[in-house]
């Protein structure tokens, strides 16, 4: 029933590459935006290093709002902003801004939760040593939280990969685009099966790599 002879393997390889680029570049920007946001959420929360209840409430509200918009809707809402930012809303480049906006709040929240798990006593010990707050954050807090941060990055990378596939609906590139154009619109079930199989493999690989890294940084 499944006839692999009509598959254009070159197209699939290229689409896989595009998916990896979309995921990788978006992950980079998600970390650049989400990590500072997550740290800010953590330190401004009540009872923490730089308690700022007002700022925390505002940040927390923005994060919640962004996280409550379904990604498919965010993709469409973001189109004008994406065009303004990089000139097009199509292809690999066009998919990156909505991906970053969609996953940064998630990543920030994950980072906040991971940092909360760090033993308060360790932070107190650093304060007792007279270490300035910025050094406590970057020299003690983040290294202590490293395994958790890597795990959070793994979760985010996998979410990004599935979102990247979804961006195929509005003309993003990659495996999602291929699945929709060939698998769905042209009824080529074979393409659909292969894209899904490839996505499953990629997700497995990311999770495995993430778990390995977590283990390497764990001192528990």
């Amino acid at each position: 029933m499944i006839d692999l002879s009509m598959i254009e393997w070159g197209d699939i390889a290229f689409a896989t590459w595009e998916t990896l680029v979309m995921t990788g570049v978006s992950l980079l920007f998600t970390i650049l935006l989400g990590l500072p946001l997550g740290i800010l959420l953590f330190v401004t929360a009540s009872g923490q290093l730089l308690e700022q209840r007002g700022l925390y409430r505002v940040l927390s509200f923005i994060v919640n709002v962004l996280r409550s918009v379904p990604f498919l809707i965010l993709l469409i809402v973001m189109i004008p902003v994406t065009v303004l930012l990089i000139g097009t809303s199509l292809g690999v480049e066009g998919a990156i801004p909505p991906l970053v906006v969609g996953t940064s709040p998630l990543f920030a929240r994950l980072v906040e939760n991971v940092l909360r798990e760090v033993d308060r006593g360790v932070i107190e010990a650093c304060q007792a040593m007279g270490i300035p707050t910025h050094r406590i954050i970057f020299g003690a807090l983040l290294p202590e939280a490293m395994p958790g941060l890597i795990a959070a990055t793994t979760v985010t990378a996998i979410t990004l990969m599935s979102y990247a596939a979804m961006s195929g609906v509005i003309g993003g590139g990659g495996l999602g685009d291929l699945a929709i154009r060939f698998g769905y619109q042209r009824f080529q079930t074979e393409v659909m099966v292969i894209t899904v199989a490839l996505l499953v493999l990629l997700v497995q690989f990311i999770q495995l790599a993430g778990d390995r890294l977590v283990l390497r940084f764990s001192r528990k």
């Binding site: 006593g121 360790v122 007792a128 040593m129 007279g130 300035p132 020299g139 290294p143 202590e144 001192r219």
Partner: protein, 341 residues
Amino acid sequence: MIRIEQLNKTYRVDGREVSALTDVNLEIGKGEVFGIIGRSGAGKSTLLRSLNLLERPTSGRVLIDGEDITRFDSRRLHALRQRIGMIFQHFNLLNAKTVAGNIDWPLKCTGSLDAAQRAERVAELLALVGLTEHANKYPTQLSGGQKQRVGIARALANRPQLLLCDEATSALDPETTQSILRLLLDINRQFGLTIVLITHEMQVIRTLCDRVAVIDGGRIVESGKVVDVFLHPRHAVTRGMVAQSDPLTAAMLDPGHAFAKDKLRGTLVRLTYLGDVTYQPILSHLAAATPARFTILQGEVSSIKDLPFGQLLLEFEGSEDDISKVFAELDRFEIHHEVLQ
């Protein structure tokens, strides 16, 4: 070195004011080992944390070397904290750093030494706490006692004048506790370091401290030299603490429980004495000098820190005249005596 004046701390819990410290006044001298003992929730942790402002008092002053630290801005406070070491019940080491990395961390943050000088200082501290061969291990690979040694080395890194110990041995087994206490005593003597510790164990106070304050319900209920507080506890809480660490002393303070009162015929007297007199043949002297007869009911000869002491519970039989002769002899030897019955 440290003076605490009229210190108060109140918390707001569910809109109600809860008092953690009330009118605390203390003076702690340079080079002294000062203990604060109390039950859990008595306020001892809040009091200790007021000395480096991890807890800000609601009112009152904390003077260190004559300066009121509650008025320090954040830069001066950081500088002050770098000169105060602190160790914790749960060690609070950085799990992501090695033993050497943990000790190096405060040095690195102070920035007064270059890398080579820091490495030298770390090696020196590792040797001091006896962990040289564990330099490259991670804290999770160490035992509790070893972790606390790392904590001590880290606290001493910047050559502080004051060391705060927050229940430093409460998570350790008795044998390890003794070795950590010995290390702290060594450090106190070697560097003239002032140590302020909090604990709920009288044993820790007896081994290490020169003076002690007993805290209960946020108030200092009793304070003084350890021997005095230990041998003559006045407050119920102090008596409770003594009873826990030393049932014999507790029994001698309140012999009514220990003896059938109807069997006692004479005068029940408790003797306490300190120092050289511990090695004197007091009893045979008493027997020779007075016609009063006596029975030893209970007794203990031990030491507090390095000070030998003895306490005896004796029952004297004889005329009033004989008994007063006994007391005169005891006074001559500077032996404290109290008639219990």
